[in-house]
Subunit: 197 residues, 2 copies
């Protein structure tokens, strides 16, 4: 099972982090991102979106980091990281939507501007960050984990770009509950870090 | 089971559409959106995000339209609309991420500007629409449905804001495969429409 990967991508890190926590072996193939390998064949054939990560497991090819977490959790971990009952699955799903939209367009995009020079409206990314981080903070004021009462792929999906927020000029100093949750994530056995986390 | 609803919201329509197709009875409660009822108690207590739809089913309270689709499909339709095997679930999940991010920030947000006067950068919504619609078009050039070989909640999640794109000044005339897919969705038994679709 191969992961097309970029070390500095938080979306790729989501997958590496979860695979480490769940002890799922991955073959990591580094993508020449600066050279635009993800925009050219053969990778553009695997993912027309022109993005990474991409997971290839036999005939299964997945292009979205949240979908990759769902796949790995369902295939390799039973219900440990992703429950299959309606309410539990939906609770996790709420956070997958949050990370796909609010986190991606907030702190993750602020970091794309500051660290990689993307031509994105920085003020918009800061406005979005200033909306979503207090919502996550308030949720974590009375929850140990984002969904359910245990670590799930919801935590793996949200953690990377929240932890990397300072690299986009988004401080976490006003969010003590988020910082405590980050410490809890880092204390999960087999936690894997990345530069900036 | 109660849906806090706004008739003109495509996110609410996702839920009404799927419930109609799957014959799931919903109690619809119209929210005074112009009066800001979703930003005040009691709704802000149900959904701190200050958004609708909200689904309440006994002790289960869900705030995200994708999560509501997952919940209803898993609880009431077996595997018909959402498979539970790893690969099938992940394939559907890819499109739930796409609608949460690219569709929401593209055509859905263009419509928010034109139809509701939201202070969003219109040019940004048009750029995002011009990226995502060709990707969906290319996918539908050789697929009848977005995920798997049958209608799933992926189609219900993406359909509303693609069908409503012209209300945001985003024409679908260059996307014949999308238009044919929309016709297929509309032909599914028990299809439900909304103003603008």
């Amino acid at each position: 099972m191969k992961l097309y990967d970029l070390e500095l991508s938080g979306n790729c890190y989501k997958v590496r982090l979860f695979a480490a926590l769940a002890r799922i072996p991955l073959e990591i193939e580094a993508v020449d991102f600066l050279g635009g390998a993800h925009k050219k064949p053969p990778l553009i054939g695997l993912n027309p979106w022109g993005e990474i990560p991409i997971l290839v497991d036999g005939a299964v090819v997945l292009r979205d980091s949240q979908a990759i977490l769902v796949y790995l959790a369902a295939k390799y971990t039973g219900e440990t990281w992703l429950p299959r009952d309606a309410a539990g699955m939906a609770e996790v799903m709420q956070w997958l939507s949050t990370t796909a939209n609010e986190v991606q367009n907030g702190p993750a995009s602020a970091r794309l501007v500051d660290k990689f020079g993307y031509a994105i409206d920085k003020a918009d990314t800061l406005r979005r960050s200033a909306r979503i981080l207090p919502l996550i903070e308030a949720h974590l004021a009375d929850h140990q984990w984002l969904a359910l009462e245990r670590p799930t792929i919801a935590d793996c999906a949200v953690f990377p770009y929240v932890a990397l927020a300072p690299e986009g000029g988004v401080s976490l100093s006003d969010y003590p509950h988020i910082r405590r949750w980050m410490s809890r994530v880092k204390a999960v056995p087999n936690f894997l870090s990345m530069p900036g986390v």
